[in-house]
């Protein structure tokens, strides 16, 4: 964690409770300048509360928020160089698109021509030219979302906060917007912090991800790191599918239901769990030399490019190319490559 660099944003030891519910427990994190950072977690994990504390819409019980080397913990939202894209977009329904985008500049009393040029520039950047005089309810969901984005970006915030901005879009549009959002962030070089419960969304857009659960950050890392090297069972299961194999140490190997497994390093625990992604299990015709087991296909789910197989013993889940044509009842050999087996913390 990089918390000393004073150009980015850092959050130190944040606690927050709502009555008896502890929403955040001693949360600390550092976001580098120009980074696309994602807070990922299931609903109720405290990610939105953390975002609201950064935005100044919520006060932490303890801890500090530091932006560009300056302690902004007690600075109200109206004075923070931080802007938010709200989940509901929160566009002002009585104002035109132009006035919505101009809102922050007008609040800060920018001269008229400056407002006009800045707003027009943002509208154009987000493909909203020609809609300046419409009202929010005359726009589609995707357009409204871009207005919300323009409205925040026009203020050139030090950090842009995005609170589940894509949850209201349909799947196809969402995938497209994710890519656009990433391109936009690259182009602007601004710091973005996204809150989402959608792991694939987090993978697409982020430079780094913080996986949260029950008010705590469980793991930091690049999308590749958190996906391929999950530290805990929660992370392994939350980010895509994972086979969890329980075992105990035995003679430098792991004794499990699928036979003895050789790992790249020995786990610290005596008894515990290792995880392997479904696409990392290899199917072979002949028995592999190590880390192999015989299995029978119980169920095959065709998914277009891939096929998902559920096998006994287990059930183990394997994803492989669909054209290889496996059928229910087939007996195959499975290989668990050592490099793909991830040791989970207790």
């Amino acid at each position: 964690m990089d918390m000393t660099k004073n150009t980015g944003l850092s959050v130190k030891g944040i606690d927050k409770s709502f009555g008896p519910v502890e929403a955040l427990k001693e949360v600390s994190l550092g976001v580098r300048e120009g980074e696309f950072f994602t807070l990922l977690g299931p609903s109720g994990c405290g990610k939105t509360t953390l975002l609201r504390i950064i935005a100044g819409l919520e006060l932490p019980d303890s801890g500090r928020v530091i932006l560009g080397g300056q302690d902004i913990t007690s600075l109200p939202a109206t004075k923070r160089q931080v802007n938010t894209v709200f989940q509901s977009y929160a566009l002002f329904p009585h104002l035109s698109i132009f006035e919505n985008v101009a809102f922050g500049l007008r609040s800060r009393k920018f001269p008229k021509n400056e407002v006009k040029s800045r707003v027009s520039k943002r509208l154009e950047m987000l493909g909203l030219q020609g809609m300046a005089h419409r009202r929010p309810d005359q726009l589609s969901g995707g357009q409204q979302q871009r207005v919300a984005l323009a409205r925040a970006l026009v203020n050139e915030p030090k950090v842009l906060l995005l609170d589940e901005p894509m949850s209201a879009l349909d799947a196809k549009l969402r995938a497209q917007v994710q890519v656009e959002l990433r391109r936009l962030q690259r182009k602007l070089g601004q710091t973005f912090i996204l809150v989402t419960h959608d792991q694939s969304e987090a993978m697409v857009v982020s430079d780094r991800i913080a996986v949260m659960n029950q008010g705590e950050i469980i793991q930091f890392g690049s999308p590749k790191e958190v996906y391929e090297e999950p530290k805990t069972l929660f992370v392994a299961e939350f980010l895509g599918a994972a086979n969890l194999i329980e075992g105990r140490k035995n003679n430098g190997r792991l004794e499990t239901d699928v036979g003895f497994l050789v790992l790249q390093r020995l786990p610290k625990w005596e008894e515990g769990t290792v995880a392997i992604r479904p696409e990392r299990i290899r199917i072979t015709e002949s028995p592999p030399s190590v880390n192999g087991t015989k299995a029978r296909i119980r169920e095959a789910i065709y998914r277009g490019t891939d096929i998902d197989l559920w096998l006994d013993p287990g059930p183990l889940r394997v994803r492989t190319a669909a054209h290889r044509g496996y059928a229910v009842g087939d007996e195959v050999w499975l290989e668990f490559p050592s490099a793909a087996l991830v040791i989970l913390d207790e």
Partner: protein, 301 residues
């Protein structure tokens, strides 16, 4: 011809629907016709009649009543009646304004209470609303009496001589009027405040808005439906109010309601009373029209 159709899930015909519609609407229409439209027309007719020497109606057409209302009399022009009309509009306006200013904090306070106690607070607003208006107005006699703190304080500050009550005067009229009309504003406004989308308030704060700007842009537009109902419910009856100014305003503080009451009562001048009523009605319509128009073109800055 008599085609079958499905109307809100019911299989029926056009003719049957028309018949049923007439049955439902008929009674109400009759009521309005008998007790609103006809008396209204009578009022128009009477306003052009002449008062006989004993207060009886004489059916000779004249516009004398309207001329009198506008201030023209045998002794030349006076602004008496026009100023009464104007004062009524002004009192109604100020009453509405004060009620609105008081209602906002009140509604936000009630909405911020936990669900259980919220209805208790609402009841406290509603109970006086159920109490007879005359009783509520008389209650102010007691509160504003010379022995009580408000009058003593006013005396101490040199506004009134010792041992005098705080009525009758304009101040007492405003107090009485606001007391009566506060629930009319507070209740519809409460309904709007309760449904307030707070994310707009947060968005405004996030976008550097000052407190005034947050109110004007995020709260006012959202509460406009409740507010405008409340203002109409206050402004229109407040213009015709005569009990409160009569009791708390004294003879010198006459509003159009008192004037009308006087013409139909003590003065026995029905034609002039009718003319004043027509004047007030026109004024109400104009006010409402202006209010609606202002409403539509209101630019929130």
């Amino acid at each position: 011809m008599n085609k079958l159709l499905i109307w809100y899930g019911e299989l029926t015909t056009q003719r049957r629907l028309t018949k049923r519609g007439c049955q439902f609407l008929g009674l109400g229409m009759l009521w309005i016709l008998l007790f609103l439209v006809l008396p209204g027309l009578v009022l128009v007719v009477v306003s052009f009649a002449t008062r006989g020497s004993y207060g009886q109606l004489e059916w000779s057409f004249t516009i004398e009543n309207y001329k009198r209302l506008l201030g023209f009399s045998v002794f030349g022009w006076t602004a008496d009646y026009i100023s009464i009309l104007w004062r009524s509009v002004w009192v109604a306006f100020v009453t509405s304004l004060i009620a609105v200013i008081l209602s906002y904090p009140l509604c936000f306070f009630i909405c911020s209470r936990p669900e259980r106690t919220r209805y208790l607070w609402l009841m406290l607003v509603i109970i006086p609303f159920w109490t007879n208006m005359v009783i509520r107005t008389y209650a102010w006699f007691l509160i504003l009496a010379p022995e009580f703190p408000p009058a003593r304080l006013a005396n101490l500050l040199g506004f009134i001589p010792q041992n005098t009550p705080l009525y009758p005067n304009a101040f007492a009229v405003y107090i009485g009027m606001v007391t009566i009309f506060l629930p009319f504003v507070a209740l519809p406004l409460y309904a709007s405040v309760e449904r307030l989308d707070w994310s707009l308030v947060e968005a405004a704060q996030d976008l550097y808005a000052s407190k005034v700007r947050v109110f004007m842009q995020a709260i006012l537009p959202q509460t406009m439906p409740g507010l405008s109902v409340g203002v109409i419910l206050t402004f229109v009856p407040a213009m015709g109010m005569f009990v409160v100014p009569d009791l708390l305003g004294g003879a010198k503080y006459m509003l159009v309601g008192n004037l009308i009451e006087q013409q139909f009562g003590a003065s026995r001048d029905w034609p002039f009373g009718a003319a004043v009523s027509m004047g007030m009605m026109v004024l109400t319509m104009v006010s409402l029209y202006l209010y609606r128009r202002k409403h539509k073109e209101m630019q929130f800055i």
